[in-house]
Symmetry: C2
DNA sequence: CGAATCTATGAAAACATTTGCAAAACTATT
DNA sequence: AATAGTTTTGCAAATGTTTTCATAGATTCG
């Protein structure tokens, strides 16, 4: 039986100390303050670490007030082009700072979101990030009461209850609508995801509706559809609208995935985009620019948002002096091939 | 100053005990063995927990040999349609069993992968999942030496060094090629991602080449391209091949993203798919079926793989009796609109 | 050469929790 | 009312690490 193992079968700092013939404190110091050690001792310890296969135990460090060096991220779903892009950049930025990401998804269920937050807090994450600004009162209370550094990603709003990094989805909706209006469209269809528990979609729809109304454009009920975040469903949903002889000249979609569905539906129905129909997206997902026709959309800089959010939360964890607690990322109109001036 | 807080400002079990007027052990038991407590005591404690806002500290539990209830996942990148799907289902299955996912990405760099593995081990994950079966010797050694439950996802191979759940990418490549051969194609182009450090792509390419060779089909060097996992690049890369007067009648792509790029390139170049060109993908990503034309591909059941992998690792963590240590998921040919029999 | 100063190392307390063991508080049985 | 048995609770040790304080050696200097 190997004496270099603790009760759980993993070598611990004691095993290293024994193997190196030094005290426990010295081993600990070799990790945390190597400059205090005699080079020879350091070498002895390094070799012992190698020999016994020691890996530091964060749990034990955490008990001394050390950070866990983990950040929790709670998202509606990982499996979603634009979130994936965000998650990747967020995680990469954390990695670059020695942090690790704990992730949990709730499937657009705000009660589950609360549960996930609790779960992450049990793991004593040093900070927490959530998507959007719409959360259950319980979730907000929890974050405030635990006094945990937090950041809301994706939505920007002045006076938000949490520090936030993102865009004004209201503005995104407005810009998308304005682009179609500028091109002379008046017969406009709307296809948006369900807005319940999804303030991003809610705001976009609101912004778009507002802009249209202000321009005196009314959208008949049967030109206003709901479709999930899903090409197949969006294709199906829009197909019905496009089959009709009285169809809109343009369709404004809540996101680029829906726009893709609409483009496929149009193609499948023998309509040429943009000649017969203009299609507008929101988001500018990967591939939207390469689509044929290329998708006109409002660019949301997911990558940038992820990086900025990570920096913000890390600063906050490190207790850096008053960083701005809200950061608005710019939206830009990407006018491309799927929209055209009406004749 | 609130006396219900520990040195770090978070209420601990002592605070709860004090607030409930019971001993620390009793509070601990109320979480771990509630059936041992008098219902009245339990209630008192529950209320105290509420009152002081206590959240259990996993780090401290871990020190007693408790599981961390975390599983580490190391992927090349999160930001990738098919991995995202896998990650989502893997994570959901873990969640359902009370586990949390720690995730790290290495950007197709096997040395970084090793670093990430170490990092996750410092967090004392109960098990670890990696993508594919190609890893540095150091990584394999590390996993073996730490004796950590592990699973390799995505690739299946008999006699693999790790338990694995996935498909035979070799077979996928072969099936894709066979489909084109069955349709009478002999002039076939290949566009695959870089195969270095990516055994999935390597195997697919190998399988495809093998099948073609066996059928006596030779692929000229300028019909064999490398493209990253990226619609834009794939579109650009294939455009050059398609412009040539002597172009293949079919293109076999290493994955569906590349296939999408090729489809857009064809469209952009005025070629009709499948009339002028057949395009074959591998993977069957979300949206491939809805594409216009729908993409012929080899279906890899990402969702299923994620769930099975999660179950396997959880079983392994729970030390369940000898589960099969390799699980092959079925590949099916999805013959759709982007491929057609040659005239 | 002895005192003073530095440098390198070790001993032990502290961190938040779990758990084996023992004591206390009830219940049931005579 | 005393005893035996059962249920409920508390005490204290243990977990793996960091860190403060103390000490042993090494170095400098008059």
């Amino acid at each position: 039986m190997n004496k270099d193992l603790n009760s759980k079968g993993k070598p611990d700092i004691v095993a290293v100390a024994k193997a190196a013939g030094v005290s426990i404190s010295t081993v600990s110091r070799s990790f945390n303050h190597p400059e205090l050690l005699k080079p020879a001792t350091r070498k002895k310890i390094d070799r012992a670490v190698q020999r016994v296969g020691y890996i530091r135990n964060r749990a034990a460090q955490v008990m001394h007030g050390r950070r866990t060096a983990t950040i929790g991220l709670v998202v509606p779903t990982i499996d979603n082009a634009i979130f994936a892009e965000l998650i990747q950049s967020f995680s990469a930025e954390l990695d670059a700072n020695g942090f690790t990401m704990l992730i949990a998804s709730h499937g657009f269920d705000l009660d589950r979101e609360y549960q996930m937050l609790r779960k992450l807090m049990e793991h004593r994450v040093d900070g927490i990030a959530v998507i959007g600004l719409e959360h259950s009162e319980a979730s907000y209370k929890l974050i405030e009461q635990q006094d945990l550094p937090a950041v809301a990603i994706w939505n920007y709003a002045q006076g938000a209850r949490l520090p936030c990094v993102g865009v004004q989805n209201l503005k995104a909706g407005r810009m998308a609508a304005q682009h179609l209006l500028d091109l002379g469209h008046r017969d406009i269809g709307l296809i948006f995801p369900e807005t319940d528990g999804n303030d991003r979609a809610k705001d976009r729809l609101l912004g778009a509706s507002e802009a249209l109304q202000r321009a005196g454009v009314e959208v008949p009920a049967d030109w206003q559809l709901e479709a999930p975040y899903n090409i197949a469903e969006a294709k199906r949903a829009s197909a019905s609208m496009l089959r009709h002889s009285s169809r809109p000249t343009a369709i404004l979609c809540g996101n680029d995935i829906i726009a893709q569905g609409v483009l496929f539906a149009a193609r499948s129905g023998g309509l040429d985009v943009p000649r017969d129909l203009s299609v507008m997206g929101i988001g500018d997902f990967k591939g939207s620019a390469e689509f044929e026709p290329s998708i006109s959309t409002i660019r949301i800089p997911a990558r940038q948002i992820g990086i900025v959010a990570a920096k913000l939360i890390l600063d906050s964890v490190a207790n850096l002096p008053e960083n701005p607690n809200a950061f608005e990322c710019d939206l830009v109109l990407a006018a491309r091939g799927s929209t055209i001036r009406i004749k």
